[in-house]
């Protein structure tokens, strides 16, 4: 079956989500290290 060739957008969206989520988790971890 022929699909539209837009896989790059999918990859970009998944990378952006991972960067935001992991980035925020890392920021919280860094702040907790500073406050302990």
């Amino acid at each position: 079956m022929n699909y539209p060739d837009n896989g790059a957008y999918m990859v970009a969206a998944y990378i952006v989500t991972a960067v935001v989520v992991v980035g925020y988790a890392a920021m919280l971890f860094y702040r907790s290290r500073k406050l302990r």
């Binding site: 079956m1 699909y3 539209p4 060739d5 837009n6 896989g7 957008y9 999918m10 970009a12 969206a13 998944y14 952006v16 989500t17 991972a18 935001v20 989520v21 992991v22 925020y24 988790a25 919280l28 971890f29 702040r31 907790s32 406050l35 302990r36």
Partner: protein
């Protein structure tokens, strides 16, 4: 147990919850990318749905929780409600960044444009900017009581926007698709896609819970540190 010890325990519990959610996110990624079929008309870009919709749900949940806690604060004047509301607002802003970037990345190949100023998109951006303002306002006010009261009023006002945003796709002409789950009729997705979406919704809800718990623990630790500093000065 002192307040500081309780806060540290909260941070530890939140960290465990966050790590579990991040592992769940890895499973969702593998399932969505490798084991969920490609939609015939939209192609691979349709899979953005499995991260965009759940992250949008989690961020709107965060803003709604902030608004409800703000209502609680205005009635009870409990400092913990204020700190929890602020924590939820910050988590909501962080998750909104993912929502507001994955949306245009999905829109470009499907709608042919990154952004359009229709009601759903504009009101979501407005809500995000409102909560950025909420966090800036908190940073600008030194007095705790004033800061908590002003930001609670802003949080309550923003709460009114959340159901409005959900209903904009029914009330106005918009490019944004209508909900596939949160609607009166049965979900309009094939079973395998629905399972992936539900898994992702559960993982992002758990992630929100983990982030909120850690952030609240940190907010209490910051509060304890300020109290200790004020005590030393006096």
């Amino acid at each position: 147990m002192t307040r500081r010890e309780r806060a540290l325990r909260t941070v530890r519990r939140g960290t465990v919850l966050t790590v579990v959610a991040l592992l769940g996110l890895v499973i969702v990624y593998v399932r969505a990318l490798m084991f969920t079929p490609i939609e015939r008309f939209q192609g691979p870009a349709q899979k953005i749905f499995y991260v965009h919709a759940p992250v949008a749900w989690a961020s709107l949940l965060a803003f709604a929780v902030c608004g409800l806690l703000s209502v609680g604060y205005l009635f009870m004047r409990d400092r913990r409600l204020d700190l929890l509301a602020m924590s939820s607002a910050e988590v909501g802003v962080a998750l909104s960044v993912a929502m507001l970037t994955t949306g245009p990345i999905w829109g470009k190949p499907i709608w042919g444009t990154w952004w359009t100023w229709d009601f759903r998109l504009s009101s979501t951006l407005f809500l995000f900017l409102l909560f950025v303002g909420y966090l800036v306002l908190r940073g600008a006010l030194a007095d705790h009581e004033v800061r908590a009261r002003y930001s609670a009023v802003l949080g309550v006002m923003a709460l009114a926007l959340v159901p409005f945003i959900h209903l904009t796709v029914y009330w106005f002409r918009t490019l944004h698709p209508a909900p596939v789950i949160m609607k009166p009729e049965a979900p309009s997705l094939p079973g395998v896609m629905l399972v992936t979406l539900l898994m992702s919704l559960a993982v992002f809800t758990l992630l929100y819970g983990g982030f909120l718990t850690v952030r609240y623990g940190l907010a209490v630790l910051e509060d304890v540190r300020l109290e200790e500093a004020a005590h030393e000065l006096s």
